[in-house]
Amino acid sequence: SAEPTIFELSAKGRTAFSLRTQEVPVRDPKETVPESLLREKVVELPEVSERDLVGHFTRLSSRQYAVDLGAYPLGSCTMKYNPKFADQVATTSGLYDIHPLTPDSHAQGWLELMATLERYVCEITGMAEATLQPAAGAAGELTGLLIMGAYHRSYGRKRTKVIIPDSAHGTNPASVTLAGYEAVTVPSNDRGLVDLEHLRKLLDDDVAGMMLTNPNTLGLFEEEIHQIAEAVHSVGGLMYYDGANLNAIIGITRPGDMGFDIVHSNLHKTFATPHGGGGPGAGPVAVTAELAPFLPGPKPALVMEDGIERYRWVTPQASIGKVHGFFGNAVVLARALSYMLYNGFDGLKAVSQYAVLNANWLRKMVSQRYDIPYSQTCMHEFVASAQRLRKEGGVKALDIAKALLDNGFHAPTVYFPLVVDEALMMEPTETESLQTLIVLAERLNALAELATTKEGQSQLHEAPVNTPTRRVDEALAARKPRLTFDQPANH
């Protein structure tokens, strides 16, 4: 049953907070604040007991699906298991309780931790230097594009365009615009890969660079990546690697070796920091040696002072400046480093091997019932299409997704990438067991089967039925937005 809002649970005079015993004199703010700026009416925060507070949020949590409850094959999101030791790391005194403006002399542990993570990120991506400041993948993209711009400016070049493939994540074009460029789209070819010939036609002296995910959002490896990079470099452009799909290739191949110049990685995907309902993440950006002077600062650097090595905050010589209020999502960084340490070089490589194994196996198991638009071996994810189901019985990708919710699974990503009709984008990740994949494949196939009957079709249109809510009216929400409890209800 629905949970009332915290505002509805509120009752005048009720409290949950506690405050230390007052030891200093109570003073009147009027003594130091102009009376005209003092509030007359207190902010209407809810008034609840601690017991009701705990009840409310515990019940809310029970209305939420999560990785810890079951498989979450949401393509392009790498919803893998999040190790619990990282929760311990996140609550270690000396990490979570340190003020960011602590002098670096007293935060040597934090600086060394960050320097270590920078090194590992560079090794994994094949880059020279990194910044940990970007708080998410999209922030990393923008940072990378600003570095790209600073680089070109340092040569006095004026570049106006950035090329992105039509299968790119929406953040790519959005970041391109925010960085002051025009986004130019290069189409995919019939194998789902960048159309190299078309790309060549787009390349000219206005091109600052190209953003690419590899494997791309269809889960396919861009086999001609070397040629692509060469082509872009040939006009003086830089190659930007969107690390959203890095989980496919750790220890197998590296963006740096493919010819990329700038790489962001999503620590909350590849390195298993939990997604938190939509953040916090972390999107470190690593670059080639040539681009290192442009990185945001400050960065931790090991310096020799009076014969003693210590870490200091240092800002690169041609830095684009800060891209975060402090040093990035530090605690997320600590989680990611602990994941890397646990797995080691051997374990991280296995992560990618098994992520790819799981994706290919699941793909094969559902390929009878669903169209698989591109036939080559996939990487860590694949895109199926419900086009046939829609044409034959009116069942859409969305219906399959919703029905899966009733079956103990989260839905795959739907209607993305845009280049596939009725796309169902599935990323099982390496942490799901064969048994789980068997059940997932069975359920997916059973739903496709269901879609062939009249009764099944209406059942699928109705799905989900066992979830905390039924399908919601998104149109109503957008038409008459009610964005706070204070606004009139729109229904």
Binding site: F17, R27, P83, L145, G251, I252, G277, T469, D473, L483
Partner: protein
């Protein structure tokens, strides 16, 4: 080898057999062998979770002084507030922690409703009609506010007070470089208030950005800026301290068009600077320009109240290069924490906590200014104040750190072209009288011995 990969050898073999492959390596046959890494990654070998925790504890230990964090009198956008135990319990519920962006509302009502409550709370705190479901931090919220103002006014010059957190301004400058915006400074008066000398200012201004209270603790008179903005058709962006809002009139009430803040004081640990959360509020007329996610109330097909991310046509995954921002993953978990924190605090606790911060800061400032050579620069302050010291601020901070205290934040202002240093101090409700007394005693010693 420890691992989270569940596959037994037999299962791996079976799966490869099903795929008619001989080895895991074959899965990567489409990757040109030139591109393949021929060696192992230069990382250590995997170890047990216990050894990982030992390593991480060793890092942590080097940030502590006698196994304890420095007792902090520093603010500067990150405040050492009490965090109630309920928040630790509820905020680590794995349903919140291990979910992702609520793409499927039917199984995401927990996160969605919490965010709806968050939006409501932040709107009440900021005094503005609508708030988004969080941004990365205070700095990124300011960047997005500037973008909104430029989009709304179709102008590209921003006036930013020197009283705005310098880290936010630095960040804004970085991004302004990309979008080709111009950020002009508004200087401070000697008593740390932002000065507007209209005659010298441009008219083609998208927005004026003011801190409230400002970085040095001064309570800026927002009405002056509102009037100025009205005259030139600019938006007023206010970067506020959320705790101070318990006692001060809200940015909304004083006419701000956009109010942004660092949400860290609302239940988020200091965390060496992140993850924090950016608060972003504005009025309804800018709804379609708001960056990031918005959650709206609606109904499900049985007519029951339900929540869903809405107005998504602003967002990057739908609108791509025409999106209002590129924000995708942001700080949802911290927004949930803030919701829990504010609900725990409640109406009375919000006021009482802010008042205690005030009482403590007053007590601290009164004691510190009784040290010879230490003087208060603020004419007004609420919970943070700027002191002039007779010795170098860096020296004091360093010396006090070795004594177990984070003395404050170094602030710099320009007075007639010359840069002067200040020590900006705050004492939250967490500080005891004993801590403050000891701090003042030690600081007195440090200053005296340095003379």
């Amino acid at each position: 080898m420890p691992s989270f990969i569940p596959h037994s050898e037999a299962e791996t073999k079976k799966m490869l057999d099903d795929l008619e492959l001989d080895s895991l390596d074959q899965l990567f046959h489409l990757i040109d062998s030139d591109l393949r890494l021929k060696r192992e990654l230069n990382l250590p070998a995997g170890v047990s979770e216990f050894e990982v925790l030992d390593t991480m504890s060793a890092f942590a230990q080097r940030n502590l002084n006698l196994s304890k964090p420095l007792v902090s009198f520093a603010g500067g956008g990150a405040y050492d507030h009490e965090i109630p135990s309920v928040l630790k319990t509820l905020g680590f519920r794995s349903e919140f922690v291990t979910a992702y962006t609520p793409y499927q509302p039917e199984v995401a009502q927990g996160v969605l409703q919490a965010l709806f409550e968050f939006q409501t709370l932040i709107s009440r705190v900021s005094g503005l009609e609508i708030s988004n479901a969080s941004l990365y931090d205070g700095a990124s919220a300011l960047v997005e506010a500037i973008n909104l103002a430029c989009a709304a006014t179709e102008r590209s010059t921003i006036l930013v007070s020197d009283g705005v957190n310098p880290r936010y301004v630095e960040t804004a400058r970085t991004f302004a470089e990309g979008t080709g915006l111009t950020l002009n400074r508004l200087l401070l008066s000697p008593d740390l208030e932002t000065q507007i000398r209209e005659e010298s200012l441009p008219q083609d201004v998208a927005a004026v950005v003011v801190g409230y209270p400002n970085y040095f603790g001064v309570i800026e008179n927002l009405s002056l800026f509102r009037e100025y903005c009205d005259r030139i058709g600019a938006l007023l962006i206010v970067a506020y301290d959320p705790v101070a809002m318990a006692l001060l009139k809200s940015p909304g009430e004083l006419g701000a068009d956009v109010a942004v803040a660092e949400g860290q004081p609302f239940g988020v640990p200091l965390s060496f600077g992140g993850p924090y959360l950016g608060l972003f509020s504005t009025s309804k007329r800018f709804t379609r320009l708001i960056p990031g996610r918005l959650v709206g109330e609606t109904v499900d097909l049985e007519g029951k109240t339900a929540y869903v991310t809405t107005l998504r046509t602003r967002e990057q995954d739908i609108r791509r290069e025409k999106a209002t921002s590129n924000v995708c993953t942001n700080q949802t978990l911290m927004a949930i924490w803030a919701t829990i924190y504010l609900s725990w605090l409640g109406k009375v606790g919000f006021v009482n906590t802010a008042h205690r911060c005030y009482d403590n800061t007053r007590y601290l400032v009164d004691k510190l200014t009784s040290i010879k050579g230490v003087s208060l620069r603020n004419r007004t302050y609420l919970r943070e104040a700027s002191l002039e010291l007779p010795v170098s601020v860096d020296y004091v901070i360093e010396e006090m750190a070795t004594r177990g205290f984070l003395a404050g934040v170094k602030g710099e202002i320009e007075v007639s072209g010359e840069t002067r240093e200040l020590l900006i101090v705050t004492a939250t409700e967490k500080r005891s009288k004993g801590e403050m007394d000891r701090f003042v005693d030690l600081l007195t010693e440090v200053i005296e011995s340095a003379r």
